[in-house]
């Protein structure tokens, strides 16, 4: 059985000029121990579809799906307090901006122990012990000392490690990483990706990587979903996607990589890909 199953997910936002469809009939499955990458430009609905699965969208968003289940349990029909027991514990998320997603008013130690208190019900000493273990696991030097630091006292890479530590605190079955390395340098990016892959392999988690970086996809994913303007353009295993992409959009995306530049000019997506079928179908 798949860990997370999404069928025909639609997310709409009410705007002044009528409803706006951010996600338009996306379906996907993630199995245990699998790394799924969701690729797309900004505005392709890749983050929104995952936020919808997490139930983190504001009430103004209208979420409908034929099926949205985690471990066989229906997430949409379930009461909010039931759902909150799953979110943050069995499904955890790492957000894009590590510095912005930590609370600047509290120490990182407080923020990681909060998760352990709410979901695991550990006592004070056990929480501290587990927090130190987690900081060690994500490679923060001097963990006992660093628990008392505030986010602004740490670098971007260190903050991202704290975010990862918080996300894996309750041994989630599924981890969603929303552009986990976009704000980071290449050398730090490599460290964070290696760390995520190691944790994923050690715990046998399902991992969803949301990214627009084809390099990150190539380095991490087993299977890839390509999204464009709220629609799924292609789904394939990673080798097939890079070696033999089916959709025109994926081909355009790969051609726009500077690594693949052949002449003096980079082909741009708008030159290679005319999205008449998407425009026609969506509206």
């Amino acid at each position: 059985m798949a860990l997370l199953e999404i069928e025909n997910l639609v997310v709409e936002f009410e705007t002044a000029s009528g409803p706006f469809r951010a996600v338009n009939g996306v379906s996907m499955k993630v199995h245990e121990g699998e790394v799924l990458a969701i690729v797309g430009e900004s505005g392709s609905g890749k983050s929104v579809s995952m936020l919808a699965a997490m139930g983190l969208l504001p009430w103004t968003a209208k979420v409908t799906a034929d099926k949205l289940t985690f471990n066989g349990r229906d997430l949409l029909g379930m009461p909010a307090n039931e759902r909150r027991k799953i979110i943050g514990k069995d499904i955890a998320m790492i957000f894009q901006e590590p510095v912005a997603s930590l609370n600047p008013c509290f120490t990182v130690g407080f923020q990681i122990e909060e998760v352990l208190r709410v979901h695991m019900g550990l006592d004070k000493a056990a929480r501290r012990k587990r927090a130190i273990e987690l900081f060690q696991a994500v490679g923060i030097p001097d963990p006992a000392e660093r628990l008392n630091s505030y986010p602004h006292q740490m670098s971007g890479g260190q903050c991202q490690r704290v975010m990862i530590a918080i996300a894996i605190a309750c041994n989630p079955k599924l981890l969603i990483a929303d552009e986990p390395t976009t704000a980071l340098d290449v050398t730090i990016q490599k460290q964070i990706l290696d760390l995520l892959m190691k944790l994923q392999a050690d715990h046998g988690m399902g991992l969803i990587m949301i990214t627009h970086n084809m390099g990150v996809v190539a380095e991490t994913a087993d299977r890839v979903v390509v999204q464009y303007k709220g629609r799924k353009m292609e789904e394939a295993d990673v080798l097939t996607l890079f070696a033999n992409p089916k959709s025109n959009y994926t081909r355009a995306l790969l051609a726009a990589l500077p690594d693949n530049a052949t002449g003096d000019r980079l082909p741009t997506i708008s030159e290679l890909f005319v999205d008449d079928q998407v425009e026609g179908a969506a509206r």
């Binding site: 971007g156 627009h212 390099g215 190539a218 380095e219 080798l239 790969l254 726009a256 990589l257």
Partner: protein, 275 residues
């Protein structure tokens, strides 16, 4: 080929003042960097955050003075600490910043943003300023109707085009590009890189391109300088540096760059299966 920009042993120290409990200390942000760039060429400065590449960019753009060392623009020594900075000098070097959301004043219209450099540095009359702004808007792929709009009405890629147009308003010889595409999506990144290449051909511009993305550097640079903790650890033509990196940090950098070719994916999947 004439040399537009030459740096000789540039050093920049920042003094962090001490306090009651802390001793004063000096941060050596740039430790003696030398290079030269020929007209119409691109020098890429690569390094991780905190290695001094943006500090160097600010020195080249004549925003900050160097602590010691010589900076020559078109063969003339400039030292802004001594007050050498004339409007003529200022016109020769311009900069494009990393984050187009932060570098455009949200309360100014695009037209005002574009004409402001002319107002400050030249005596160009208003109608000529406007004409020039219109010409450049079209050059960077925007339209005349955008002249009276505000920055929030534009996407990230369009804003970066506006920032590039503003930098070109004074007809500079040298453009310092401080991570101009790292805040942009892959597809928009390709468009902006193409635009930069076109503008370089048309105006014979010289670029100093600051970046940490090696795939972009390989595409755009003629020469590459790798910085690490304030020092230039590697400096040479693009092909030299990419074919045969000498310094261990450059090798680390190459190893850390994600590879998106089919062979590397196959190798990774094989490794995963074996593990």
């Amino acid at each position: 080929m004439s040399v537009i920009l030459e740096a000789r042993n540039i050093v920049r120290d920042y003094h962090v003042p001490g306090s009651f409990l802390k001793k004063a200390k000096t941060v050596h942000a740039v430790k003696g960097v030398s290079f030269q760039v020929e007209k119409g060429k691109t020098l890429a400065i690569v390094g991780e955050s905190g290695c001094g590449k943006s500090t160097l960019g600010r020195i080249l753009t004549l925003i900050d003075p160097a602590t010691s060392g010589e900076l020559l623009i078109e063969g003339k020594t400039v030292d802004i600490a001594k007050g050498d900075l004339t409007p003529e000098m200022r016109r020769k070097v311009q900069i494009v910043f990393q984050n187009p959301y932060g570098s455009l004043n949200p309360r100014q219209k695009i037209g005002d943003i574009l004409t402001e450099p002319l107002v400050i540095n030249t005596k160009t009359p208003a109608d000529e300023r406007r004409d020039r702004a219109m010409t450049l808007l079209k050059k960077v792929g925007l339209e005349e109707k955008h002249y009276n709009r505000y920055p929030h009405m534009f996407s990230g890629g369009q804003r970066q085009r506006i920032a590039i147009a503003r930098a070109l308003m004074l007809n500079p010889k040298l453009l310092v590009l401080d991570e101009p595409v790292s805040a942009l999506d892959l597809s928009v990144q390709a468009q902006v890189l193409n635009l930069l290449a076109d503008l370089q051909d048309e105006f014979q511009l010289t670029y100093v391109f600051i970046s940490h993305d090696l795939s972009v550097v390989r595409y755009i640079a003629d020469e590459v300088m790798v910085m690490y903790f304030g020092e230039a650890v590697e400096y040479g033509s693009r092909d030299e540096v990419f074919a045969d990196p000498k310094h261990s940090y450059t090798k680390t950098l190459f190893a850390a760059t994600p590879r998106a070719d089919v062979e590397s994916i196959r190798a990774r999947l094989a490794r995963k299966k074996a593990a």
